[in-house]
Amino acid sequence: MSRPTSPRWAVSDTLVMAQRDLLAIVRTPVTFVFLLVQPIMFVLLFRYVFGGSISVKGPYVNYLIPGILVQTTIFGAIGTAIGLAEDLQRGLIERFKALPMARMAVLAGRTVSDLVRNVVVLIVISLVGFSVGFRPHGSPLHYVAACLLMLFFAYCISWGFAFVGLVAPNSETAQAMTFPIIFPITFASAIFVQIQKMPSWLQPFARNQPVTQAALAVRGLMNGTPIGGAAWLSILWAIGLVVVLAPLATRAYRRVD
């Protein structure tokens, strides 16, 4: 038998854990359906209720849908926090800790399964977008590149939410704890509206925070407009975040008892 900590087992353990989380989604499809309801509501709300009052260059729907896609993939990380908090609450983490599995597999498996879930979400919300009039002018290849960028970005952020799930006393609180983080970074950004129209005190934050860079890059790629350095900046942001957040989450995992 090879050493339990060898890289081969780390990969295998992560896949077993990810498969477990995905099975849970398949078993309770209702949860997944409701997960999709929220972004669909956002699409409808901003397309048909607020959209008329928001003026951007070109049709708002082409501005909106790339933004909503970014928002939705980031919102997916709330699931990472809730899932880990639930495992902790039910005593499953206790069982995992007494198994000779790779220590990081519990967290890595959860973030990987949330990544897979985000792939499905991206496809569904893209289709919803197309059906409400989203007509991106970029090439299909650019569309795929934009999706990969979003998935990578959201994956890196989910490590921060893994940390939240591990320090929260229960899953309800874990969910509540994600809101003060996720609302500012998604709404005070270039996801729904142009930053120039925000109050001047808010603009520096909104302009320079990572979600704005991701939104600008995704929107530019999908619509075939110039993106400047946004793509590279958002990738750098994502790498920077995961370098800080993954060790933080791993440390929190080691400390829970």
Binding site: T5, M17, R90, R95, P169
Partner: protein
């Protein structure tokens, strides 16, 4: 490799920055191939000990080896030697019984085919074959415990930790689980079992340690302990406290220990219940003391505690913090 499956030396574990001493110098030697019982009420430190031995917690001081391996120096190899089944039956409710076992098998690094075949085998053995493909959410309490126990056995570990395996179960499920645990030693598995029930410890464990507030207050084989504690409790109810005091005088020379005197009630722990009861009645009758009630019963954990420590077992005492009170910080 030494002769003991589990050996601990002077284990201390504190919580809340040292304010609570859940374990206060516990030394254990668990021989291989036996069922060994840790008996004690809530808060006595049983679960803390199991969590240290299964590498979930580290001791504040002292040392422990499991299967000859130091729990702090090489926790991964300890984890390869143990199975853990807990009182909270930690099965994944979203998975089926089979998927639960296969997952634990895979995380124990069994090859896919072996993990699956072991899972089927254990489901059959524990009477869960019909429920194998049902979500664990639909399982009864007893089925969950059996699934939890099966998960602990998937990788065929030589040592098994069972933390209060039957707490909260109905009598029939308890009997079923006892039969399974008894069968385990026939495979050569060492079982370290915690329990609050004297009856359970007596039935399953050859050797016992009684814990109270993190200390060992008694140890020995269950026969030795029972001989010390008596096998029956004789309860006598008199009509007044004066009568009770007089009765106590009268019965002092009987081969019994007074385990409790409360108001008008006397409790005696005795080895030969009926004979002592008859003699007690004769003496009380001779002194014209009226007996309002008489009962003979099996000693409970409470009786054990009274005779060992002079105080009642305090259920839910603060010595062992709630399992997931996550404000406390484990020393890094």
């Amino acid at each position: 490799m030494n002769d003991f499956a589990v050996e601990t030396l002077d284990i201390v574990r504190t919580f809340k920055d040292g304010d609570v001493r859940a374990l206060d110098g516990v030394t254990l030697r668990v021989p291989r191939g036996e069922v060994f019982g840790l008996l004690g009420p809530n808060g006595s430190g049983k679960t803390t000990m199991i969590r240290i031995l299964s590498t979930i917690l580290t001791p504040s001081s002292g040392s422990a080896t499991v299967n000859g391996i130091d729990v702090e120096l090489d926790p991964q190899r300890v984890r390869q030697s143990i199975g853990l089944a807990g009182q909270f039956a930690t099965v994944d409710e979203n998975l089926t019984g089979f998927e639960n076992l296969r997952m634990v098998g895979r995380l124990n690094h069994l090859e896919k085919a072996l993990a699956s075949s072991r899972s089927r085998e254990l489901l059959g053995e524990f009477g869960l074959a019909d429920a194998a493909n049902r979500s664990a959410k639909t399982y009864s309490g007893g089925m969950r415990r059996r699934l939890d126990l099966a998960a602990a056995l998937v990788a065929d570990p030589p040592i098994l930790f069972l933390d209060e395996p039957t707490t909260g179960l109905d009598p029939q499920s308890r009997q079923d689980l006892w039969a399974i645990i008894e069968g385990l030693t026939q495979r050569g598995v060492t079982v370290l079992l915690t329990t609050q029930y004297l009856e359970e410890a007596d039935r399953l464990a050859r050797q016992l340690v009684v814990l109270d507030h993190g200390h060992i207050i008694a140890e020995g084989t269950s026969q030795e302990l029972k001989a010390r504690l008596g096998t029956t409790v004789l309860e006598l109810r008199l009509t007044s406290t004066q009568d009770a005091a007089a009765a106590r005088e009268l019965l002092a020379s009987l081969s019994a220990t007074f385990s409790n005197i409360e108001g008008t009630v006397l409790e005696l722990t005795v080895n030969d219940g009926p004979a002592v009861a008859a003699e007690a009645l004769r003496r009380l009758d001779g002194a014209s003391l009226e007996v309002a009630g008489l009962a003979l019963r099996e000693p409970s954990l409470d009786d054990v505690f009274l005779s060992l420590t002079g105080h009642r077992a305090e259920a839910g005492s603060a010595a062992e913090p709630a399992r997931r009170s996550r404000s406390q910080k484990e020393p890094a």
